[in-house]
Structures are given as structure tokens and as C-alpha cells.
Symmetry: C2
Subunit: 410 residues, 2 copies
């Protein structure tokens, strides 16, 4: 029996999904599990998108253009223009989710052995894409002590070697909810210019910026147009993660032309998803206002509830719909599993994503977890009550240590 | 401006799609272009599939399971059982088209620098997937002189080195339409066993076997269950190439478990496509009978027409909906481009896929082209008449040489 590949052995299991069997077991035992572990919003997909798919009159579900339907790209270019991002339809490829956009970007821009710097904690699947592309991730740590702000440029500089080819950022951030300020983006620009690096900018949470904060896109930064690759997705914007529609966008014509070759090899992005994506561009403003208000309410409620639990600390995220919290536990992975296997409260339990899977540096994030506020307020209330109870009962609770650590940091 | 990657530079442009700009120009000039160059059937998608999508009542287009919806996998397992392929739903992953199945298989089983042997001419995108995965393709040539039968096992043996990890086959074959006999499949089995190789078997044209010939799946071969990876797709079976739904199937639990990690990184296959794919399994037998009769009629008409043209030779393909023909031209790529740019007949022209892009050995296939019979008989008639006229007028025609070559071979 031949052996599987080194890459396959290196590929991490999804830190978000590896607890799934425990959750399934809890459900089979009749327990309600509140899923705070995944970025799957409960918000309805815009009816414009759903109806376009339902009303389609195609008779043959044909391959589309490898770059995506031209009508969709043209309309999408208008959307970006409205965001102050000056692109036309020839400067983008429609991809199969944001995932494929990341993979195309890495494959197009990076050689086997090249290094990319990523502020950690970061979206865990970047690891998978880096391994797939043979690229090495060098983490620069952002910490909960600074509410996950951009690490200093000096810290980036220390990591730069001859192999460094790019920086990957995600703002608003998954998992932390941190939104880079314009000032932070300008610092990144200087760094990118100084070392002529690629800047891979994952902006799939663009619409989720709170408290009046503006979103600064990497494509707003003047002078590094040939360095920036924008990675995007309709998944969160229109709550249609399953459509698998994203985009790779760049002013650098070489990047788009070469990414197209990878796109041609896989023929085309999904036809039905493109119909939904194109129609979703007609979603009225009221939809986003409603969604915005809903998330603000959820965030405020949840972050308050978390910070009122003994020994728990959550920053106030300015974007996306996650927060990374510090928990008074010995090991958040053990705690998460324990909640699913050995704990219930009113026959309910909670599923969270241990943060260690979002860090690349071994040992970091052991007392942190990513919590998503993708449930309605009523469910969130039950989930917070259940989580608080779980923290009280958990045998590996470390509240004294954490409480003193909290004090020493203040 | 940072440089793009070596992989991107290596990635070939699709030989099928690189003539597209010439075709677009011809169309803009008001010419009718018959597309014999692509595997996009004109056959209607089964109404069962289309209606399932149109009638869906989902409110939120959520992520599905990374391995694909369990209900779909369970029903798909029944389909395979009916094909004499003994698998259950845990032995498969639903993929984003057959393309992703190939990529997952390569990434899971092969290391950077490993070699796979592929009978050429072969589906050109295998090159793209091999480059993406850092794998080297070693071609073993099947020739039009033998109607593209499996090359001898000795020829395979000569190519085997320490780096050889697998063999890729496609039967019924794209581009040649050749269908491996059970005897040929048994030979491959012996080879796979002797060297403990992976056998990647692309069987997306399984339903398209003609003249009473049975399809032998690699999963019918006893004793190499841990070596076989079946690569499949709904694209051709149900004429829904744009749905982007395929499958990776193996009895080797290691392969499926590790491929799942790549699947988790990209989250899930398309939700709408899975709805269509699951419903398509209820397509009545009459649909396939009709499709079968249609393709038989087209094949017989087209192969006859081709062989009646002076200096043209086409084998009689036993499967799929392509044939690779020998043409009396100096260079089939130049000829294909010339037909689009400099030729028209009754304001019509024909687009074919030059065969050189399907060969890995430089120089081979220069006087061959892949022709797909994916148009209705009426269009095929016009296309054949137009092609014949083009061959008469083409300045690079080599009919004398080819005719004598034909004679010398008989």
C-alpha cells in the first residue's frame, strides 16, 4: 500500500471542525448545542439572490467563463467602485469561494519554500493553503493584551529574510474581530514598499465594521497597486457561505493573467452560485442596515456578558462577527471538548473554537477561544448562561491565576 | 514589483481555450462558429436536477459538510453499487467538479518531485494539476496507428523510476474516446501491484460506452483496493458541467481521511450544485437512452464524414464524445487559428482543439486535433462540410504526404 504525501501528513485538521464528532455525540444524546464555533451566520440570504436561482431558465448548466461570467464581473466592478476600489472586470477572477482566491494567489505569487508573514492569531485555513502551495508561514504575534492591534513594524522587519515574499492580512479580522485603522494600513504599505512584497488582503468581512469605523482596503493604498492582491467572498456579505463564490482582484495584470491559468485548469466557478452572486449585488441597503443592527446588538450583548464572567476577558471587536477571549481554563481545547462530552446545563451546551488552532507559534492561545456571535440574541443569552456555568464547573478552571494575571496587567 | 511564481510561469494555457479570442473575433465579425473544441454538451440537464434547485426552500445558503451532504453521499453510494462499485458514503468526498478531485488526489498521495505516468494524449488539465501539486508527468505514448489502445506494459515499465508513485488513466478517454477493455485494465492492475503504485482513475465518461462495450472501473479490479483512487464528476453524466460537482472515492481510508483535510481547508463543495447532483440521481433511464442514441448517431455520422475527407483519419471511438483525428495539415494549431481568423464558408467556420496540447512529449500531435461531437446532427453536418472546405483551402495542407503515409501504414 503506497504511502500518502508529506503534505497530507502536514495538513492540519480544521481546529473549528475537529470537535465536530463530540458535538454530534452530544446532539445524539438529546442535548442542544449552541454553535459559537463557526462563522456560519443564521442571517437569511437576500431574497434577490435566492429568487434569481429559483427563477433561472437555463436548460443546460454549462461551463461558464473560467474567470467567471462577464456580466457578473462587470457588475461586481461597480460594487468595488462604490467602495472606492478602482477596478474593472478584467482585473478580477470569480473564484470558488474566498478559499480558492487564497490558493490561486499563493500558487500564482509564491514559490515552494517562500515565506509569508501573517499576524497571528489568523484564519486557520491559511495554514492549509500554505501547505498546499508549499509556502512557509512566519507568524508575527498580535496579543490580547493589545486587543490584537497590528504588531509593530519592527516585529515584521525582524522576520524578513531573503525568502519573504508577502504579507497576509485579514481586516476586519477572523478570528479576532480587529479592524486595522488607516494608520495601521499605511504602516503596512511602507513595509510592503520597502521590501517589495506582495500584500494579500483578505477583506471578506468588509461590510462588518462597527462604531462608525471606516474600512481601509489594501486597494486604497496608493503606490503599491502592483503588490496588492485582494481576496474576497460573498459568503459573509450576503450570508451565503454555501454558494462558494469569491474573487481574486489585482491591478497587477501579470497576477490576474497567471491566476487565470490556474482558473482555466479547474474550468470555471459554480454556475448557480454566480447567478446568486450577481443578483445579490441588487440587495437593498435596508438588508445591510438590518444585519448591521442585529450584529451590533449581538456583539454588545455578548462582549458584555463575557466580560462579566469571572476571569474572562474579551476585547470589543470593531468588525466581523468574532471575538477572541481569554478564558480562566488550563487548556481551551480540553475545555471545549469537556463542554461537549461531560457537561450540560438545562440539557444545553456550547461549542467554541479553541484559539490554539489560530496561532502558528506553538503554545500560544491555550487559554483563549474564538467565539462567533452568529446566533440570535435569545440563543446567545442561553449560550452565555451555559458558558458561564461551564466555566464554574470545569475541573481545569484556573481562575485564581487568571485573575491575578488580569490584575498584574492593569 | 515582485515576481510571480515559477509554477505560474510553468502553468500552460488551456489548449482548448487559448484560441478563444480568435473565435470571439470571428463571432464579432458576424460569423457562425461551430464549437467542436470543447466538451460542453448541448444536451439538456435532467429536469429532476434543475427543478430541485428551483424548488429549494432554503433560507440561508449555509456551508455544507466538507465531505459533501451526507444525504447526497448515501444516495451516490447506491449509484456506485449499481455500477458494481462497492463503496459506502464514508469512502467518498464530494468535490468541486472532477477537477478538485484530481487536485485532492495528487496533493494527498504525491510528494513534490514524484512522478506519475499518463498515457498520452491525455486530458490537458492533468498538466495544470500536476504543476500545482509539484508533480512530474511522464507520458507513455498511445498512438493513432493503434487507435489509442493502452501502450504495452513494457513501455510503462521502462518509465518507472524510484520517483514513480502513480498512474493516471481516463476511460472512456478524453481526448481520444478510447475505452480500455477489461484485459487492458487487468494489465494495469498487474503493473500497479508489482510496483505498489497509486492508480488514479478518471471515469467521468462512464455512461458513454458504445457498441455494447462494458465499462471496467478501476474499482472493479480485485486486490488493489488500497491503490485505487476513483475520480468522478456529474458534469458529463447529466450535462451539468457548470454545477461543479465531482467526487473522490477510495477504499483506502487513509486517502479519504487525508483528502478530507484539504476539503476542510476549502470548507465545502457548492451547495446548489449538490442539490442538483443529489436530485440528478433520480434521472429516469429514458434520459440516458435518449442521450446514448443521440451520441451514437452523432459519432457514426461524424466519424464517417471525417474518414471521407481526403487525407483525414479518425478511429471509431468506443466511448466519451470525442475523437482524435489525423489531419492533412502542417500544424493543427496553425490550422485551427487560420479557420477562425482567415477562413469562412457560407459565413461559417469551425473551432477544433489542436492535439499538441494533449501530448506531453514535444512535437507529438502536430497533425492531430480533438473533435467533440457535442452538437446536434444538423449543426454537425454543417460543421463537417465547413471543415472539409477548410482543409481544401488551407495553405498549409499536406495531403500528398499524409495520403502516402496513410497508404504506407495499411
Amino acid at each position: 500500500m503506497p504511502e500518502i504525501s508529506d503534505k497530507a501528513n502536514l495538513m492540519p485538521e480544521s481546529p473549528i471542525r475537529k470537535l465536530v464528532p463530540y458535538a454530534e455525540k452530544a446532539k445524539k444524546e438529546g442535548r442542544k448545542v449552541y454553535h459559537l464555533n463557526i462563522g456560519q451566520p443564521d442571517i437569511s440570504t437576500p431574497k434577490e439572490a435566492l429568487e434569481a436561482v429559483k427563477n433561472t431558465d437555463i436548460k443546460v448548466v454549462e461551463y461558464t467563463h473560467s474567470a467567471g461570467n462577464e456580466s457578473y464581473r462587470k457588475k461586481l466592478a461597480q460594487y468595488y467602485q462604490q467602495q472606492g476600489i478602482n477596478v474593472d472586470h478584467t482585473e478580477m477572477l470569480i473564484t470558488t469561494g474566498g478559499s480558492e482566491a487564497v490558493l490561486f494567489a499563493f500558487n500564482t505569487c509564491l514559490n515552494e519554500g517562500d515565506e509569508v508573514i501573517i499576524p497571528e492569531p489568523f484564519y486557520a485555513n491559511y495554514n492549509g493553503f500554505a501547505i498546499t502551495a508549499g509556502v512557509k508561514v512566519k507568524p508575527v504575534t498580535s496579543s490580547i493584551e493589545h486587543d490584537f492591534a497590528l504588531p509593530s513594524i519592527d516585529e515584521f522587519e525582524e522576520l524578513i529574510t531573503e525568502k519573504t515574499k508577502g504579507i497576509v492580512i485579514c481586516s476586519p479580522n477572523n478570528p479576532t474581530g480587529y479592524l486595522y485603522s488607516e494608520k495601521e494600513m499605511q504602516k503596512l504599505k511602507t513595509l510592503v514598499q520597502r521590501h517589495d512584497l506582495f500584500l494579500f488582503s483578505d477583506e471578506v468581512y468588509r461590510e462588518f465594521c462597527y462604531d462608525g469605523k471606516a474600512h481601509t482596503s489594501a486597494m486604497h493604498l496608493e503606490g503599491i497597486e502592483n503588490n496588492v492582491v485582494l481576496l474576497d467572498s460573498v459568503s459573509k456579505r450576503y450570508s451565503m457561505c454555501g454558494a462558494r463564490i469569491g474573487a481574486l482582484i489585482s491591478k497587477n495584470k501579470d497576477i490576474v493573467a497567471n491566476a487565470l491559468k490556474f482558473a482555466q485548469a479547474r474550468l470555471c466557478p459554480p454556475a448557480f452560485g454566480q447567478i446568486a452572486g450577481e443578483a445579490a449585488l441588487d440587495t437593498p441597503k435596508e438588508y445591510f442596515d438590518e444585519v448591521y443592527n442585529e450584529y451590533i446588538e449581538r456583539r454588545n450583548f455578548m462582549v458584555d456578558a463575557l466580560n462579566n464572567m469571572e476571569g474572562v476577558y474579551s476585547p470589543l471587536p470593531k468588525g466581523a462577527f468574532y471575538t477572541v477571549v481569554r478564558l480562566p481554563v488550563d487548556d481551551s481545547e480540553r475545555f471545549a471538548q469537556w463542554m461537549l462530552s461531560d457537561f450540560h446545563y438545562n440539557n444545553q451546551t456550547v461549542m467554541i473554537a479553541p484559539a490554539s488552532g489560530f496561532y502558528s507559534t506553538p503554545g500560544l492561545g491555550k487559554d483563549e477561544a474564538r467565539i462567533a456571535y452568529v446566533l440570535n440574541i435569545e440563543d446567545l443569552k442561553n449560550a452565555m448562561e451555559t458558558l458561564e456555568q461551564a466555566l464554574r464547573e470545569y475541573p481545569g478552571r484556573t481562575v485564581e491565576q487568571t485573575a491575578s494575571a488580569e490584575r498584574s496587567r492593569q
